[in-house]
Symmetry: C2
Subunit: 225 residues, 2 copies
DNA sequence: TCGAGCCTAGTTGCATACAACTTTTTAAAA
DNA sequence: TTTTAAAAAGTTGTATGCAACTAGGCTCGA
């Protein structure tokens, strides 16, 4: 792993954590001195963050952390509603036994955690949920589709995911997972796609309700699948 | 415009032209010496090309130009069939008079060129067609959707577009343009989306027929909208 | 007091030298 | 002859110094 890779992940994590707030500039020299790297790997990391859409480059003036508006969140969900069903549509034709097994394990673990309802359990569920979606994307076997979703969704591995859900919504979400698995076993791509569409629209509703009340900029990024 | 920008465009153009063939390595020192730049802007250009999906970075070994398989082309069309209808679905709610006017102009010019059927006319049509789609994407007012399509479609400004079409297909394609405009005027997003879907599927058919016969690697990139 | 032009501070953009890593070649030993 | 290890060549990765550019403040003039 190169220095640029490390710097990339550090800066990205800091943006997610709110260390760098939206609109602030990330100075090459400053962070370079702090992390004890030269400006070269910092520059490369920033350029990658620019092409990932985390920061925007102002020519000759630096890299500014982008802010998220309600409209941005809407846009992301609009695209996910298209792309994530396509993931399972493809996966239905291609998925292997072993992958179905892992999906089942993940669903079991998530449901077990649903009994509890403390903060930590919710964080755990969010983590497992991300793995669930990652497994589906892998089963879809489309590098481009994977790339598009990765650049769009930008889920932090960290917190906040699933916290907007009511208990009812949470249980419903678990049902979706089960039903998607059943559809995939039967290789019913359209069925799986329909459920996934509902799954995303439900997430969208929960997210929107939250954003209407509270702050937007950071909550936006914790958009949950 | 910075040096890195220039180098980026030059390398990209060379990949499109076939100057750099698939699988070959683009050496930083070599091209730097040739274009009389230092390795720094070359590196930056290459990194951008990597994140655009034109080349792949092999750690400590360089940037290799990616090749296109039939499967890659399939993947691209599969995504365009999802995303391009979404473009007009959004555009129907947002498009302005002036944009509709420009779309109409473009359609007129393309149809005029359809009378002729020499090579140059076909090239011209391809160019205008790209402008047509760009105008639609602009009207959709979704930066993310725009970015996704730009990274996926990768149409070279150059040649080969529309050359796979039979005369019948070409005329049909012109009809699609007209019908999309009509639907947009009436703000009928779903109608416009349906035509666009057919438009892309038709392009896919023409492209696939071509790839079955001839070479793939470069023809693939000339995928026409 | 207001405005225009200039200047200075600060930042990014680029060039170059060196370090690290990977691959290939070559030579020696089995 | 084959295998293995070492070294040598070539490439990318990083550090650093200088150049170019931008923004904000300051001075000078109206």
């Amino acid at each position: 792993m190169t220095a640029a890779d490390r710097v990339y992940q550090i800066i990205k994590q800091r943006i997610l954590n709110g260390w760098y707030t939206a609109g602030s500039y990330v100075r090459e020299a400053a962070i370079g001195e702090e992390l004890d790297y030269s400006r070269t790997p910092i520059r490369e990391a920033l350029r990658r963050l620019v092409s990932d859409g985390w920061v925007e480059a102002i020519p000759h003036h630096g890299a500014r952390v982008v802010g998220w508006t309600q409209q941005d969140v809407e846009e992301v969900f609009e695209l996910r509603v298209l792309l994530e069903p396509q993931v399972v549509r493809r996966a239905a034709k291609r998925i292997h036994e072993s992958q179905l097994g892992r999906l089942n394990d993940l669903a079991n673990q998530m449901e077990a955690l649903c009994q509890r309802s403390d903060e930590e359990a919710v964080d755990q569920i969010a983590l497992l949920n991300n793995q669930f979606h990652a497994e589906l994307v892998a089963a879809a076997e489309s590098p481009r589709l994977q790339r598009l979703l990765e650049t769009i969704v930008q889920v932090p591995v960290s917190r906040r995911s699933f916290h907007h859900y009511t208990r009812e919504e949470l249980l419903s979400s678990m049902q979706h997972h089960r039903e998607i698995i059943r559809a995939l076993i039967l290789q019913e791509g359209e069925w799986a796609a329909a459920i996934m569409r509902a799954h995303i629209l439900a997430a969208r509703t929960a997210q929107m309700r939250q954003n209407k009340h509270g702050n937007c900029s950071n909550a936006a990024r914790s958009a949950v699948r």
